[in-house]
């Protein structure tokens, strides 16, 4: 999966290191090894590998991670532009 890379410098992922308790859950659930536990705190080691699935933010017990999660689907984004976020159904 490391060989499959998408556009760089676009991810909305943010980590509040101050709030992090170092449980390592984000590193466990991330499908792209974006996080690594460094000296009892999590760190973002591969931001451009992030696919904004939101698993890290969902599983963080202290809410130290912020990301705008969703599916990277052009068809869904077109529907969102045309009919609004609420009307569009995540299709894939």
């Amino acid at each position: 999966m490391k060989k499959f890379r998408y556009l760089a410098g676009v991810s909305t992922l943010e980590l509040d290191v101050q709030a992090c308790v170092g449980c390592g859950m984000c590193a466990t659930v991330c499908p792209h090894q974006v996080f690594e536990l460094q000296v009892k705190k999590a760190g973002i080691v591969d931001l451009d590998g992030c696919m904004e699935c939101g698993a890290c933010a969902t599983n963080c017990p202290v809410g130290a991670i912020r990301v705008h999660p969703g599916v990277g689907c052009a068809s869904y984004i077109i529907k969102k532009w045309l009919y609004g976020k609420d009307a569009a159904i995540e299709c894939c």
């Binding site: 499959f4 998408y6 556009l7 676009v10 999660p69 689907c73 052009a74 068809s75 869904y76």
Partner: protein, 140 residues
């Protein structure tokens, strides 16, 4: 889309010609079909080997090659304006179709897809517009 292709192909000096719609329409429909194959079959099949990370660019290059193939298949009766229109249509269709495969991969992010769409869609729209102008213009 195919209906639009045949209507556009029929427009000419005699307002509308049914024989031109069939003859010229077939060439443009071939370019459309090959563009669709490039975007929906070639791009997903060769995804890791096609250059660039943006799907619309991968579709663009596949569509360009298939569009050129369509002009060769179209025969010698085609004039350069028609050939350019065929290549542009193939590129636009292939690029748009390829872009729609972003939802079928486990590594594309919504922010990235939105970024490439903001770049890709104006290009695809421009190519379609240029196709219409060149194709209708070539009949006169």
């Amino acid at each position: 889309m195919l209906a639009a292709i045949f209507v556009l192909s029929g427009i000419g000096p005699s307002i509308f010609s049914l024989s031109a719609a069939c003859q010229r329409g077939l060439s443009l429909a071939a370019a459309y079909g090959l563009g669709l194959i490039a975007g929906t079959v070639v791009v997903p099949a060769l995804l890791p080997w096609l250059p660039w990370r943006s799907f619309y660019l991968k579709g663009l290059i596949a569509g360009l090659l298939f569009g050129l193939a369509a002009t060769v298949l179209g025969g010698e009766s085609l004039i350069p304006m028609e050939k350019a229109a065929m290549v542009l249509l193939s590129v636009a269709i292939s690029s748009y179709a390829a872009m729609n495969f972003t939802g079928a991969t486990p590594f594309t992010s919504p922010s990235g897809v939105e970024k490439e769409m903001r770049r890709g869609i104006p290009l695809q729209f421009g190519a379609i517009l240029a196709t219409v102008i060149l194709w209708v213009g070539a009949a006169f």
